[in-house]
């Protein structure tokens, strides 16, 4: 639990036509080799946002080693479901599978629990877009907008203020970026500190996960007036935008 409250923040916002996830990277530096981080639609080799299945992406906060193990477990669980039922796993069921595992580690002696909180952003035909949160004890719950990691109290109250019931993905993206820029320690937002992903539907109504690569993140930040250009006053509102 302690590790999670120090971890980089992860924010998720649900909308009618998509889900948005953003995460703050803590391990940075110019010597860190990021050439492996391709982004795109395969797996997401970032530090904090992963593709679990074609219909679910997740953001993690806590002990990275534990998180990697859980991500692997989730991917296996999703493929097992696809194998058995020839259907993509429903989002809540995937969250449940992981929580069953997490809960097990709180009950049996000798082992420590997974020090990881996760956000699951997914789509299934029964309940459309969904956003879930799970903690190390194995509790999980569904949210319209939530966050995990350091400063999650501040971010939650910002989300509470600005979340609207019928928000669109575009507005959700803007909301997430704004909250991110207000809660992160650093003064400027940039791809080296930020991970970003969306889950929407494509033309054939199939879920489409997009994990942004560094160049796309910088372009997105630029578009919302939060990019590096405004060095020093990144937190200032973009022209025409109201203050949070």
């Amino acid at each position: 639990m302690e590790a999670i409250s120090h971890a980089g923040i992860v924010i998720g916002v649900l909308s009618k036509d998509g889900v948005v996830l953003a995460a703050e990277k803590k391990v940075t530096g110019k010597l860190l080799d990021m050439s492996g981080a391709t982004g795109g639609s395969y797996g997401g080799s970032g530090e904090k946002i992963f593709l679990l299945n074609s219909n679910v992406i997740s953001g993690v906060a806590g002990i990275t080693a534990d998180a990697n193990s859980l991500v692997n477990y989730a991917r296996q669980a999703a493929q097992r479901h696809l194998f058995s039922y020839n259907e993509d796993i429903p989002v809540e069921l995937l969250a449940q599978r992981l929580c069953d595992l997490k809960q097990g580690y709180t009950q049996y002696g000798g082992l420590r629990p997974f020090g990881v909180s996760l956000l699951y952003a997914g789509y299934d035909p029964h309940y459309q877009f969904q956003l879930y949160h799970s903690d190390p004890s194995g509790n999980y719950s569904g949210w319209k907008a939530t966050c995990i990691g350091a400063n999650n109290g501040t971010a939650t109250s910002l989300l509470k203020q600005d979340y609207k019931e019928d928000i669109s993905v575009e507005d959700a993206i803007e909301l997430v970026l704004k909250v991110m820029s207000k809660t992160m320690d650093s003064t400027t937002l940039g791809s080296e500190k930020l991970e970003f992903a969306t889950l929407t539907l494509d033309a054939s109504k199939q879920p489409k996960a997009k994990i942004y690569n560094p160049a796309e993140i910088d372009a997105l930040l630029q578009k919302h007036g939060l990019g590096k250009k405004e060095e020093g006053d990144a937190a200032a509102p973009a022209p025409g935008d109201l203050t949070l």
């Binding site: 795109g40 395969y42 797996g43 991917r75 296996q76 493929q79 696809l82 194998f83 020839n86």
Partner: protein, 164 residues
């Protein structure tokens, strides 16, 4: 299996369905972990090891695979392979065959195939081989399906055969 890997599974129908699902599982896991599409040769080894896992109670299947592999220079190179029911790999340079008509297919393919065929000539060779071999086989027939895999598109053609 992917945009540029095709797999044929002649054999017991239940095993065809099961193996199709097993390979989907394994290819999906490969793609998500490696963050790239699987190469045909890697896939061939995956098929082989999956079948050998059931060495003493095998799936009744003799897979044939065809695809385009990426060369280091970024170009695409054709690839074919086949295995027996316990996964013994055969990377042939010319042709691979399997199924009830395999003995006849070997004969016709041996006669018709020649090196460096252009896509449309390759299609004709393949189609003629199939139709003629199948006519000599009592267990198979009623038409054929040919997928012509090129680097920018895959053409699927359904052929009419003898219906007796």
């Amino acid at each position: 299996m992917s945009d540029r890997i095709y797999l044929g599974l002649p054999g017991l129908a239940t095993d065809v369905t099961t193996l199709k699902e097993v390979f989907r599982y394994r290819v999906n896991m490969y793609t998500i972990k490696e963050e790239r599409e699987i190469e045909p040769e890697t896939f061939a080894h995956l098929v082989s090891s999956t079948l050998y896992e059931k060495r003493f109670g095998p799936y009744f299947i003799e897979p044939v695979m065809a695809g385009l592999e990426k060369t280091p220079s970024g170009a695409y190179k054709p690839f074919i392979a086949a295995t027996d029911l316990i996964g013994c790999l055969n990377f042939a340079k010319d042709f691979v065959v399997a199924g009830t008509a395999s003995t006849k297919l070997y004969g016709v393919a041996e006669g018709l195939w020649e090196p460096d065929l252009e896509p449309e000539d390759l299609f004709e060779t393949c189609a003629q081989t199939l139709l003629n071999a199948v006519d000599r086989d009592a267990y198979s027939g009623w038409g054929a399906e040919v997928h012509l895999i090129t680097k920018d598109k895959v053409i699927k053609r359904t052929l009419k055969g003898r219906m007796d």
